[in-house]
Amino acid sequence: MNPDLTRATAAELADALAQGTVSSVEVTQAHLDRIAAVDGQVHSYLHVDGEGALAAARAVDERRAAGESLGVLAGVPIAVKDVMTTKGLPTTCGSRILEGWIPPYDATVVRHLREAGMPILGKTNMDEFAMGSSTEHSAYGPSRNPWDLDRIPGGSGGGSSSVLASFQAPLATGTDTGGSIRQPAAVTATVGTKPTYGGVSRYGLVALASSLDQAGPCGRTVLDTALLHAVMGGHDPLDSTSIDAPVPAVVEAARRADVKGLKIGIVKELGGEGYQPGVRARFEESVQLLVDLGAEVVEVSCPNFDYALAAYYLILPSEASSNLAKFDAMRYGLRVAPEGVDAPSAEQVMAATRDAGFGPEVKRRIILGTYALSSGYYDAYYGSAQKVRALIAQDFARAFEQVDVLVSPTAPTTAFKLGDKLDDPMAMYLNDIATIPANLAGVPGMSLPSGLADEDGLPAGIQILAPAMQDERLYTVGAALEGALIDRWGGHLLDRVPELTATSEPKGA
């Protein structure tokens, strides 16, 4: 294991903790020190809870010393995306409207983490209410890509991806509505999984689009990600859409790492034109490696994927417009009095607060969704989008009759520069073109690093998609490919990430 505890994988830390060669307090403190040294430059965290993390670490060390049998990840610290409610810790979703709100309850996922004995280091940055692909829509300023601090770390989960790529936590949680776990993983050379819809409880996740949202694990290796997946997942009676079945055997699958005899499909519609040459080159190399490992690769067509983006941008804003209605200043969060109004009415306070508390992208989507659901437009927009959604699910079903898993590049490009797409929402939306179909159909998907693009030296990702409830296939394929790639690179890709110097000045936003 790397003597620098922040460079170790979660699996290595778990082993060392189990063997007693290191304590959770030491591991947690090492990460808190790292955060203090580098987060001024990366801005991954919205809130750091050193005291709480160390208290949890001490508690788990004591339990271990007392001989209690603990979970695999007990003592391994983690960063939590700020979209998940944490009892006693601020939860803002990257929005001004929730500034200062301290939830009175834990999300089910967070409860799982605490019960597993994982100290929570803090809450990670995100695009406001998870709307975006860059974290530039966070009300608290963007996070930065450790590969190039002038570039985006992906979004909405750019806080969690940059935390991992800058070694400020060995693991992080994410949520993925259209790619918010996978695209940030791709642009930072980390790993992230969007599980099958219903595989991880949504209770306590501040909803963006209920029928698309799915929480999942983020790590630096496929095995680490699987270990976290096993902790986060499972049936939750508090979430009606939660799957009542055991968590798929993802850890075993990651350890098996075997693609011999598997049939892998390349999705014709997710590649080619519009995809950066370096991204395509790394993708094709990865596919060749899978063939070398014994997989059979064929091309499959999912013709309705061409309509996925359009359908997604009707369904998501529609649900979001309703989900975000609760932020009205009446019970919690920001409250703003309208200017120049004596004794304002409740409606006036609601309007003024929502005007001041929501950023432009959130307002854009609320307006879109409100329009799409309006009587007279419902059938043409929301209704049609639901039909497209059914067709996309059908495309997946047909594809999975032919192959075991599907693969594509995760995102069409490597990380773009901060500010590059801020004024062009459509260009920003196109970043999720390859990840959105999985959310619409509810199937699981994973992104892992495929290498660095020749033209800019920045990370690219490969996406693996599996049938619903077959999440373990992602891990066996992902781990096999990861092993072959690391052999080829002679080490983990993140070994090449530029060193952040503790002394360098924080970049201005």
Partner: protein
């Protein structure tokens, strides 16, 4: 700022009925008395301290998710079945989106185009014994809102209030909304039909044991839609009349007693008639009913274009009750109130008129329980429809509520009757005992004991009193000897007075007659 309530012109009801044909639609909201709320585990106790029966779900906190209360779904299905509805094989909840401070999520989780129950009817018995069939459009599940309390200002409404308080205890309580199809053909009896429907529905829901159905507490609430169309000929059910298009309707809210249902419908008919007769047109709007003044006032304007942006609730999975469940719930339905009434009337030997009095007094269940406790049906009716009914009416309460509050039970009434039939009390003593029970002095036996009420069983004392009275009234005695038996009444009264009321009047009468014939 105070809202002035202007009195609007109304047309005499009979004149209105001579010119117009009324059409109604009633929407009744019923709070189910499940132990927990519709989508969370919070209790539903009425009258708890504000905001003590709440959790992240029913407060709509960020991240919280709903879970359907299976018991509420079963109640909804039972209501649907009792209303002869079809039960959906598959249906969804939908979000009804609008902003209001007492609605925590700013959408109400309801049902839209996929109600759990639809296409039913309820046969309603009218005062003259005829039956009106109310067609049921749908019964659907939803959650209640919180309750706003507007402080300051003169009207208790949000306009003009200094501030408002919100109690979310009620937010998320399961509601069933029962919507009728347009009720046509009632003619001048429309107000009576409206009241009879709500009353029959209340009886049905009570028999189903799904709700407290207390209109005064808001666990049953009625919105009355009324419209008028020109009258054609004399028969409200003629094909010609039914072919006339419906007029513009108003929706009167806040109608919270059976009497108000009748009065509010009647008022709106008269108000519409005055406007239409003057050449005006009806504004489609919500109206508020004022119990005290007996008028409606304009609420917010409402049009069909009001856009709630309904869409299927993505946080809940569809409700798909198996046919086995539906059939097993059908097996739990109580005897329909109408059939039950006819059966009880037969068993009790009441005339139609007597049964109607009992129904109007809301005393069926009380009498049934009193008879079960051992009283005769005639005595049970006599006692319940006497003083208790009079007092309940005087307090504008229904008899069941009044009796429950005062602590008068069917067992008490049966006990009282037993004291009479056993010969311990006579009728007037029994009335005194009942007064004592109503005054909270205890059970009938305890009251009789405490007040020293007991018929004198010593025939010697009674005979002495009879002799004394005969001696003192020779004229009356002579009349009785001549065969004018009715004159005995005057002597009985004096005997009872001698006995200070503690004698059996029947026994006194037979003694007097024995001595004088």
């Amino acid at each position: 700022m105070s809202t002035s309530i202007t009195t609007e012109a109304v047309m005499d009801y009979d004149e209105a009925m001579a010119r117009f044909d009324p059409v109604m639609g009633l929407e009744v909201h019923v709070e189910l008395h499940t132990n927990t709320k519709m989508f969370c585990g919070c209790p539903t106790t009425f009258g708890a301290e504000p905001n003590t029966q709440v959790c992240p779900v029913c407060l709509g906190l960020p991240g919280a998710l709903p879970v359907v209360n299976e018991k509420a779904v079963e109640s909804a299905i039972r209501i649907g079945l009792a209303l002869h509805c079809e039960i959906a094989e598959w249906c969804r909840f939908a979000r009804k989106n609008y902003f209001y401070p007492d609605m925590p999520k700013n959408f109400q989780t309801s049902q839209y185009d996929e109600p759990i129950a639809f296409n039913g009817y309820l046969d309603v018995e009218l005062e003259d014994g005829s039956t009106y069939r109310v067609e049921i459009e749908r019964a659907h599940m939803e959650e209640d809102t919180g309750k706003s309390l507007h402080i300051g200002g003169s009207t208790g409404r949000i306009h003009g209030a200094d501030y408002s308080l919100v109690d979310y205890n009620r937010a998320g309580i399961p509601l069933i909304e029962i919507v009728t199809k347009p009720m046509v053909g009632a003619g001048e009896r429309a107000p009576e039909v409206a009241k009879a429907y709500v009353s029959a529905l209340r009886d049905l829901l009570r028999a189903l044991d799904v709700s407290d159905v207390k209109m005064e507490q808001g666990s049953m609430r009625c919105d009355a839609n009324v419209s008028l169309r020109p009258k054609v000929g004399g028969d409200p059910l003629s094909a010609e009349q039914l072919a006339v298009p419906l007029g513009t309707r108003t929706e009167t809210k806040n109608v919270n007693s059976l009497r108000s249902v009748e009065r509010a419908v009647r008022y709106e008919i008269s108000r519409h008639a005055a406007i239409l007769a003057a050449g005006g047109s009806i504004l489609q709007e919500t109206r508020h009913w004022h119990e005290d003044t007996g008028v409606t006032t304009s609420g917010r304007e409402k049009s069909d274009a009001e856009d709630y942006r309904y869409f299927p609730e993505p946080d809940l999975v569809p409700v798909a009750p198996s046919r086995e469940l539906v059939e097993s719930l059908r097996g739990t339905l109580p005897e329909p109130p109408g059939l039950r009434r006819r059966r009880l009337q037969g068993e009790w030997g009441y005339s139609d008129l007597e049964m109607r009095d009992v129904l109007n007094a809301g005393a069926v269940e009380l009498i049934e329980q009193t008879v079960a406790a051992g009283a005769s049906p005639a005595a049970a009716k006599k006692w319940w429809l006497g003083e208790p009914s009079r007092r309940a009416n005087a307090q504008a309460q229904d008899l069941v509520t009044y009796a429950a509050e005062i602590g008068l039970t069917p067992a008490h009434v049966a006990e009282l009757d037993g004291l009479v039939t056993s010969g311990r009390l006579n009728d007037s003593m029994a009335r005194q005992v009942l007064d004592g029970v109503l005054a909270g002095e205890g059970t009938p036996t305890a009251v009789a004991d405490a007040r020293g009420l007991e018929l004198v069983q010593d025939d010697g004392a009674l005979e002495a009193a009879v002799d004394k009275v005969i001696e003192a009234n020779p004229d009356v005695a002579a009349k009785i000897r001549d065969g004018k038996v009715a004159a005995a009444g005057a002597l009985i009264g004096q005997v009872m007075k001698e006995m200070k009321g503690q004698a059996d009047a029947g026994k006194a009468r037979s003694l007097i007659l024995d001595k004088l014939q």
